[in-house]
């Protein structure tokens, strides 16, 4: 037995299991809405090609943090973001950054399914079109098809691509929104309670989908369902009153959290 080799192997395993590459990183992120502060010095790493779940009681700032990651907060006049957030080590709040580019790389799926009141095809094709991802009509058709396939919706809608997207069921609409986000080939997908408006079967489908998407995308998901966080995420971050309480591998967070507040929240004692 060679002790050195064993140590080396162990180190290698360590880096594989516990230190995946960091896709996005928040350093001392603070957010103010007017005079009220919604986030206090949040430091959180988003690991690449994993699912990280943000949990915490209502109003604790999960959505706020999520929306910082693709600068969706820019649309709120009174919102000010401090600290630093990087995507692949580039500060996304740098004045030289174009939010349009950023949002093409960091896509978003919202709590309520919000398809455009246009055809299913147009919903998916819109992003690639404005980003010039498809030069020919056939390219666009291809993108739409693969996106819908990845979102697990293709078989249900392939015969009615030109029917309005708003005519789908809630779960189908949400998968359409996921397809729409995927169509611009983002690297990160942000999901703010994507299943809260859906029934258990539709939820299960989306969770399955998230698990598949993990292979190609980095996913940040906000959820109120502990079971969902446990089922789909590799890492979990717990927020409370605008602070990041604790962050770690999901199984550890759910079995052996370091903070009492996390334990209380997970076991349903508050929130």
């Amino acid at each position: 037995m060679n002790m050195l080799t064993e140590a080396a192997v162990e180190r290698k395993l360590d880096t594989m299991d516990e230190q995946p590459a960091i896709k996005m990183r928040g350093e001392n992120v603070t957010v103010h809405y007017g005079d009220t502060q919604a986030l206090f010095d949040v430091n959180l790493d988003v690991p690449e090609k994993q699912v990280i779940a943000l949990i915490g009681p209502s109003g604790c700032g999960k959505s706020t943090f999520l929306r910082c990651l693709n600068r969706m907060n820019d649309t709120i006049d009174i919102c000010r973001v401090g600290g630093k957030i990087t995507l692949d080590d580039e500060n996304i709040y740098d004045p030289r950054i174009d939010v349009v580019e950023l949002r093409a790389r960091v896509g978003m799926v919202f709590q309520k399914p919000n398809p455009f009141p246009k055809s299913i095809f147009e919903n998916v094709a819109y992003g690639p079109r404005i980003h010039g991802l498809a030069s020919a009509k056939s390219d666009l058709d291809g993108i739409v098809e693969t996106s819908l396939q990845k979102a697990g919706l293709w078989n249900e809608v392939k015969d009615r691509l030109h029917a309005p997207g708003t005519g789908l069921s809630g779960g189908q609409q949400q998968r359409l929104c996921i397809a729409r986000a995927i169509a611009v080939s983002p690297e990160v997908i942000l999901m703010d309670e994507p299943c809260s408006a859906l029934d258990p079967i539709a939820t299960a489908k989306i969770e399955e989908l998230i698990d598949e998407l993990r292979e190609n995308y980095t996913i940040v998901i906000v959820t109120h369902s502990m079971q969902q966080a446990a089922r789909v995420s590799q890492r979990t971050a717990m927020f409370h009153l605008g602070n990041l309480v604790e962050e770690g591998p999901t199984d550890k967070m759910f079995t052996n959290p370091e903070e009492k507040r996390t334990q209380d929240y997970i076991t349903g004692r508050f929130g």
Partner: protein
């Protein structure tokens, strides 16, 4: 199943005693109050409907008759000896001939008609006979001859306007009794008219010229038409549409989607609402001062009217457009921004199309308001007596013209009661335009109403 639906026998349901079929004093009072309110509401509705029916009824009963007109059917010999002494049909020479030279032709034609049909003139002077035909008739002849010089020397059948009083006789405005007292018509004339009618030389038919002819002077109401007014109104609406729609939509989009929400934009917002409440005559004074006195634009021109009405219409369209933009759910904007659309793309690709029905509705309602607006137009001289049609656009925008509501006002100011009928007819035309526009707005709203 039956267990669940069966009432538990014996046991009292609820804490209050007594049957549900007995009403307490409170309940009775509540019902009485409700009944009272319903009666009041119903009365209000009935009152409003009656007022509307009364209004429409009076306008229709006064005005519908203006769509029919009495004509004298007359074979007129276009005597070359009177019209073209040189015999060479020189247009310049013909042009020099005034309507005065055509009057004798009518006189002769009238005499021949009476002779041929064997109509008894019975007390009517030859002046009376001539006065059956409108003074406008000579102009009609002249117009025809100038357009067809080759017809000189022929006998042509004309439908010539009967004079206003004769026309009024067949519409019930003039009777034998009033004719006794009237300087402009005598009972003999009316009897003669009846004879002519019996002989088929006098007909009453649809009055197309009411829509196509220009205004006429005080003494010939039978010839007055809405042509210039309708054209002027159309020109003004074009100016208003072309100017106010883009300006209003641009302003609304900027204010609603792009402008930061601060004191300045608040002030702008309040002022736009205030602008919508400014009395229209103020806009007229402004137009007079700015567009005519300062910018030197011509008076009575549709361009000035259009500019003034644009100022008035802008706030209406801006308010409607902003409401339409506000009604587009924010989730649509977020969806677009979320896939990396710029703010501009999100607005123009997704928000604006959803707001279009609301914008169009607002625009049409704004235009309808502008169409009926009178006061500012009076101030900028649109009330002038205009007989010349404005030229085709764009030059025509600078020619003098009238407008429908001003024409109504103008006609109500005139002495001859025949103009009351004309004014009511013009109101009907105006109302029809307004109803069509509002109907269009409703159709658009229905058609494009969507769910999201």
């Amino acid at each position: 199943m039956t267990d669940l639906t069966a009432t538990p026998d014996g046991a009292a349901v609820g804490s209050k005693s007594g049957s549900l079929f007995e009403r307490g004093a409170r309940t009775r009072r509540r019902h009485a109050a409700e009944r009272r309110f319903r009666m009041i509401g119903l009365a209000a509705v009935i009152f409003a409907i009656l007022a509307l029916v009364g209004l429409l009824g009076s306008i229709l009963s006064n005005g519908l008759s203006s769509f029919r007109q009495t004509y004298v059917v007359l074979d007129v010999y276009l005597d070359p000896a009177k019209l073209d002494k040189t015999g060479d049909r020189d247009p310049a020479e013909l042009q020099k001939l005034t309507t005065f030279s055509y009057a004798p032709l009518l006189k002769t034609a009238m005499e021949t008609l009476i002779e041929e049909k064997g109509i008894s003139v019975d007390g009517a002077s030859s002046k009376d006979v001539d006065a059956i035909i409108s003074k406008e008739a000579a102009a009609t002849l002249r117009h025809f001859v100038l357009a067809n010089p080759s017809s000189i020397g022929e006998t042509v059948k004309f439908d010539l306007l009967a004079s206003g009083r004769i026309d009024g006789y067949y519409k019930g405005r003039v009777t034998m009794e009033t004719a006794e007292l009237d300087r402009n018509v005598s009972p003999q004339q009316l009897m003669l008219a009846d004879e002519l009618k019996a002989a088929g030389a006098l007909t009453t038919r649809f009055n197309l010229s009411f829509f196509t002819a220009p205004d006429a002077s005080d003494t010939r109401p039978e010839a007055a038409g809405l042509g210039v007014a309708i054209l002027g109104s159309i020109y003004m609406m074009l100016v208003v549409l072309v100017l106010s729609l883009p300006i209003a939509v641009a302003a609304s989009i900027y204010l609603e989607e792009f402008a930061p929400k601060n004191r300045l934009t608040d002030i702008i917002e309040v002022n736009i609402s205030n602008l919508a409440a400014v009395p229209s005559i103020v806009f007229g004074i402004l137009g007079l001062a700015v567009f005519i006195n300062f910018a030197g634009l011509p008076q009575s021109a549709p361009i000035v009217g259009g500019l003034v009405l644009t100022l008035m219409t802008l706030p209406t369209i801006i308010i409607a457009t902003r409401a339409a933009l506000k009604a587009v759910p924010p989730s649509i904007r977020e969806a677009a921004l979320g896939v990396g659309a710029s703010k501009m793309q999100a607005t123009f690709h997704h928000v604006l199309p959803l707001a279009v029905p609301g914008i169009l509705t607002g625009t049409i309602i704004g235009l309808a308001q502008a169409l009926g607006e009178t006061a500012p137009l009076l101030l900028i001289g649109m009330v002038a007596f205009v007989r010349e049609f404005p030229a085709a656009p764009p030059g025509g925008f600078f020619d003098p013209a009238s407008a429908l509501p001003v024409q109504v006002y103008n006609w109500t100011q005139r002495g001859d009661p025949a103009f009351v009928e004309r004014a009511s007819g013009a109101i009907i035309v105006l109302l029809v335009f307004l109803v069509i526009m509002n109907g269009l707005a409703i159709v658009l709203r229905r058609r494009f109403e969507r769910r999201w």
